[in-house]
Symmetry: C2
């Protein structure tokens, strides 16, 4: 390894990102890679930065690897990658799942500087004897190419065919829809990537905030009666307030918005405040606001003709029946929680199991290991209430 890895959020490649954006049209970038927005976070501009700023490192590099693929190399001695992580390099042709030569030319590298692209479930190699002695792993242990977390979580929640949407409400919000071929948004609001399931792709709109606004609220306005109040108790409070929080409406964009409308300047809000509103109303309003933000992204998918039969919820918020019920009412589709809350790990295990031939294939594995724990169904009365308030939410965002 010639230098430390550069973390994805690192913004040093600002200038290089602009150079790439000037050389390729936004439409070409999007249609080729599935990524709507060139920015310094992607590997392509980072490699270009290395070429200019650390030519020694650049010239002596034999392979450019994503962190996961570096770890697989350490485990097996094999250079590999797979379509899900490669979808976020800006130098993968998404539809073909092959390197994009024009981009490689522009950033100044040849194909031989990149690893082979395996299917996510395919065995890259066995654990090396060096690893055996270091970690006590048997050299018969197979290592598969693996997957990015969002796609692995989708797989681990059974989201492997169009119709089921997974959403993860944790710190931020991630939504994943499985599609059969790459789907492009004419307004370029949503990224498309390869799924870890063969011949499938995903649309994955996301938002900068979600559960974290509840953490902010609890830390900023702590409970007087219970200093150790956890999210469960906080959400229990929300359940005591009727849908719509008696006119209190929140925007959860405390640090800008991403999908469907990219706006780093957007901020959070509470409006409609009157003297009857208590702490519980504010909790309810925030929880509803996060559900509305989820709906914005689900509606974005529907607008692209993506079928939405049901939603499976992951992340910290999936522990809260209150929140799940609100989501079902706001989205007007059933919301399910899988038994295994660590869906990304389960998805990775499924890929390994298929690679090791424990399962005959991904569909069989999903049938055997993915179980739904609880289902929440929309109630027509609440759906009607939220339909109205959701419009208020959208128009509030437009106004502010």
């Amino acid at each position: 390894m010639l230098r430390n890895a550069i973390v994805w959020l690192d913004a040093r490649a600002e200038e290089e990102s602009t150079r790439i954006a000037k050389n390729f049209s936004p439409e070409l970038l999007y249609k080729t890679t599935g990524l709507p927005e060139m920015s310094p976070i992607w590997p392509a501009p980072k490699i270009l930065w290395l070429k200019k700023n650390e030519p020694d490192v650049f010239n002596h590099t034999s392979k450019f690897l994503i962190v996961k693929d570096y770890l697989i190399w350490k485990l097996t001695g094999k250079f590999s990658t797979e379509p899900t992580e490669s979808s976020s390099t800006f130098y993968l042709k998404l539809k073909e799942k092959d390197w994009w030569d024009e981009m490689l030319d522009f950033i100044g590298i040849k194909r031989d500087k990149l690893p082979i692209i395996f299917p996510s479930y395919e065995v890259v190699g066995n654990v090396s004897s060096q690893v055996k002695s270091q970690f006590g792993l048997c050299t018969n242990t197979k290592v598969v190419a693996g997957s990015m977390d969002q796609m692995a979580a989708a797989l681990g929640a059974g989201n492997v065919e169009p119709g089921i949407i997974t959403e993860s409400t944790g710190t931020a919000l991630g939504v994943v829809a499985t599609v059969d071929t790459p789907v492009y948004d004419p307004k370029r609001r949503v990224p498309c990537a390869a799924h870890c399931v063969p011949d499938r792709f995903v649309l994955y709109p996301y938002a900068e905030t979600s559960g974290i606004v509840l953490k902010w609220f609890r830390d900023t306005f702590p409970s007087l009666s219970d200093r150790k109040e956890d999210y469960g108790q906080l959400l229990q409070l929300a359940s005591r307030v009727s849908p719509g929080a008696e006119g209190l409406l929140a925007l959860p964009h405390f640090t800008g918005t991403a999908c469907p409308d990219f706006n780093p300047q957007a901020r959070g809000a509470f409006v409609g405040i009157s003297f009857k509103h208590q702490r519980t109303h504010f909790v309810r309003a925030l929880v509803e606001a996060v559900a509305f933000m989820l709906r914005e992204n689900i509606d974005l998918l529907k607008g692209l003709s993506i079928p939405v039969r049901k939603v499976r919820s992951l992340g910290g918020a999936a522990k809260s029946d209150v929140w799940l019920k609100i989501k079902a009412d706001v989205l007007n589709v059933p919301v399910e929680v899988p038994e295994c809350s660590e869906a990304a790990s389960l998805g990775a295990a499924v890929l390994a199991g298929v690679g090791a031939k424990v399962f005959s294939g991904i569909n069989q594995a999903v049938k055997e290991v993915v179980k739904v724990k609880k289902s929440f169904y929309p109630e027509p009365d609440n759906v009607a209430i939220y339909q109205k308030i959701y419009q208020d939410y959208l128009s509030l965002y437009q106004k502010l």
Copy 2:
């Protein structure tokens, strides 16, 4: 007394209020009485209600009295009133300080059903012998006609000439400007009434909320570290945050607005929320919002060519140096606090003193008894900051 008094906020005379509003044009009502809006709270529709619904009481009434004047009758045995309270009857011709015969005809009473109108400082009579025995007051004790609270407070704060504005930030917000002749707002946004000072009138815009939003905040989001936190401590927190609360902006209209824009549907808001905002920022934003609301009403007065040289602050908020300083910066005029915080009582005492010839006149009395305790001056840097944020505040109200 034939029946209990009807409290001013009582809305039973809705229908009668509408009848009066249909019979007289809004312009005539406003130009004659100084009151911009007919509603059930005023005595005129309430008397009309009595005529229809309690004809026995109505027919046997010898005098219709405001509560203060009833108490003076109990003290002295004399029927009296004065221009300040009469200004809120809707049957006083403001400019002439005489009863409005057309309105008396419409509500079905003659002048002899109303008391004599004394100047506020004039002695109505001495304490009766019955009161002497009941309360131990000497029968030499003189009783003057008195004043409504807002005008008495203006007098007690030295607001007896154009140029000084008094504002009272308590539960709600009351602003009083002294003028030499009745001033009418072409948009009918602000009431005009007689002052308790001879040959003076007042404009008195008001708002439904002010200090009460801070009480709501303290009760709704109490301090974890100090369960007995008082307003002084809360406002001390506000002083730690820089002007503008780092982008957090509030609207204080938790129960609608009155002046300058009458809108019972308006509600409170916090916008611009980001993760850096703590409890202290919310306190600051509320305190600033109340100062902005005050500025709206001061600007309304300026728009009517009322001179605004300085503001004298009364009410609970006048105890807070932090708040007074913010007001000076937001208003861009000096803000002073009188030594006597009970300005309405002091004003009443001045009227009594003039009536009892302790003082040669009101101006001499004001010079002797009204002292300024502290002055707060606008700082140009803060004025510039607030000038910008005040525009944001106005436009936020328009948007919501």
